[in-house]
């Protein structure tokens, strides 16, 4: 019983750690002396609880206190909240405009860089480093050269063909550039890791944009960011984009 005597008070107050609570619970079932002690403590606790609830404030006093503290803060609250809300709204609007603008600029500079890469590839006598129309040759070529893997679509349409691929860099991050021929046009498909272009707004659906006579399409998929660009119509780019999205 001695081991428990000091703990019965904390037990009654519900302050004993769960493990000891259980142990004491079990002990009380077998020890009449401790049980009697605990019961008496509970009785006293309850008695003090109700004896302590002795005084009730008068309605008149309640009203007086309410009046003494209510009106002033209410008026000052209006004078505080009106300008505060206005300032807050302005700040939010400013931040949104700023971040939209910043995102817009980031997009713009990314598209310019990609357009440069695309044009450089077109102008080069060796636009691709791996020359093959076979996706099973092109895809393994990238292994070990870039820090991620991707899938290339199986092309059924005779008008679309793979020309090959090469390594491209965007913001110092390596990625893949694949060149496709669609009729007589060339399309570049760039693939980078999402975190390498994290400053761009991510989007799982395609975003389309026109810049410097090129059409762009971009979307995010499985942690990778895809860009399709060429001098063809948006719908032609979309067809290729859809093949990529479905590639397994």
């Amino acid at each position: 019983m001695d081991n428990w005597t000091g703990k019965i008070a904390a037990y009654i107050d519900g302050e004993l750690p769960a493990v000891e609570m259980k142990e004491l619970d079990a002990h009380l079932r077998t020890c009449p002396a401790c049980t009697a002690d605990a019961l008496q403590r509970v009785s006293l606790k309850r008695a003090v609880q109700s004896a302590g609830r002795r005084y009730t404030p008068s309605a008149d006093f309640r009203q007086r206190v309410r009046q003494s503290i209510a009106p002033r803060p209410r008026r000052s609250a209006v004078w505080f909240w009106l300008p505060a809300t206005a300032v807050l709204l302005l700040l939010v609007a400013g931040t949104l405009t700023f971040s939209n603008r910043a995102q817009h600029l980031a997009m713009q500079s990314t598209y310019s860089e990609l357009a440069d890469l695309h044009v450089t590839a077109l102008a080069s006598p060796n636009p691709v480093d791996v020359v093959s129309t076979d996706r099973h040759t092109v895809k393994p070529w990238f292994e070990g050269k870039i820090p991620f893997a991707f899938n290339l679509p199986d092309l059924q349409d005779p008008e679309v063909s793979l020309a090959g691929g090469r390594i491209a860099y965007l913001g110092q991050a390596p990625g893949a550039e694949l060149i496709y021929h669609v009729r007589k046009h060339q399309i570049s498909v760039f693939i980078f890791q999402e975190r390498a272009v994290g400053h761009l707004p991510s989007s799982s659906s395609s975003l389309q944009r026109q810049q410097d006579t090129f059409n762009f399409l971009t979307w995010s998929q499985n942690g990778l960011r895809y860009f399709v660009l060429g001098d063809m119509s948006g719908s032609d780019l979309s067809k290729l984009a859809d093949l990529f999205k479905a590639a397994r």
């Binding site: 000091g6 008070a9 107050d13 008496q40 403590r41 006293l44 003090v48 109700s50 503290i69």
Partner: protein, 161 residues
């Protein structure tokens, strides 16, 4: 007004006087409102309010007088099991509500307040520790001594009557 009834009850127990209690409660709300910025969200609001009320009381004339009788919490009271014929059983059998109230009233301030916070307000040891600004170990030892004092004084009162 949050906690109004509880704070008023506590104030009456501290001051033993209606007018003083009303002034104390009113001052507590004014101070709480003025100092609300100093309340740290995430900490206990109830303990904060009770602490304001108690600190205000302790700086009042009645409070200063009552506080001078507060002894140090240096020694822990020996925890004794209640005997067979104890005031607890008598409280229940005779339902001596009034006797218990008189006993509480007669207790020194530091015992009275901790019993009220623990039993009547059902505060946790942690909340009591925040309200009274004392460590949890002191809460437990003081609570134990307060309960013993309550039993002793009740016993004396019963013996006299």
């Amino acid at each position: 007004m949050p906690l109004f009834d509880q704070l008023y009850n506590f104030a009456r127990w501290l001051t033993h006087d209606l007018t003083e209690a009303e002034d104390l409660v009113q001052e507590t709300y004014v101070k709480a409102l003025r100092g609300f910025s100093s309340f740290q969200s995430g900490t206990n609001f109830r303990a904060w309010m009770f602490r304001i009320l108690r600190n205000t009381f302790l700086t009042s004339r009645t409070g200063l007088k009552a506080a001078t009788t507060v002894p140090l919490d240096a020694e822990d009271a020996d925890e004794l099991p209640a005997g067979p014929e104890t005031p607890e059983t008598i409280f229940i059998s005779h339902s001596e509500h009034q006797l218990l109230q008189e006993t509480l009233q007669a207790l020194p301030l530091h015992f009275r307040e901790i019993l009220l916070l623990c039993e009547t307000e059902e505060m946790s040891y942690q909340e009591i520790s925040e309200t009274l600004s004392i460590p949890i170990g002191t809460v437990m030892s003081r609570l134990s001594r307060a309960r013993k004092a309550l039993r002793d004084i009740a016993q004396q009162k019963l013996a006299r009557s």
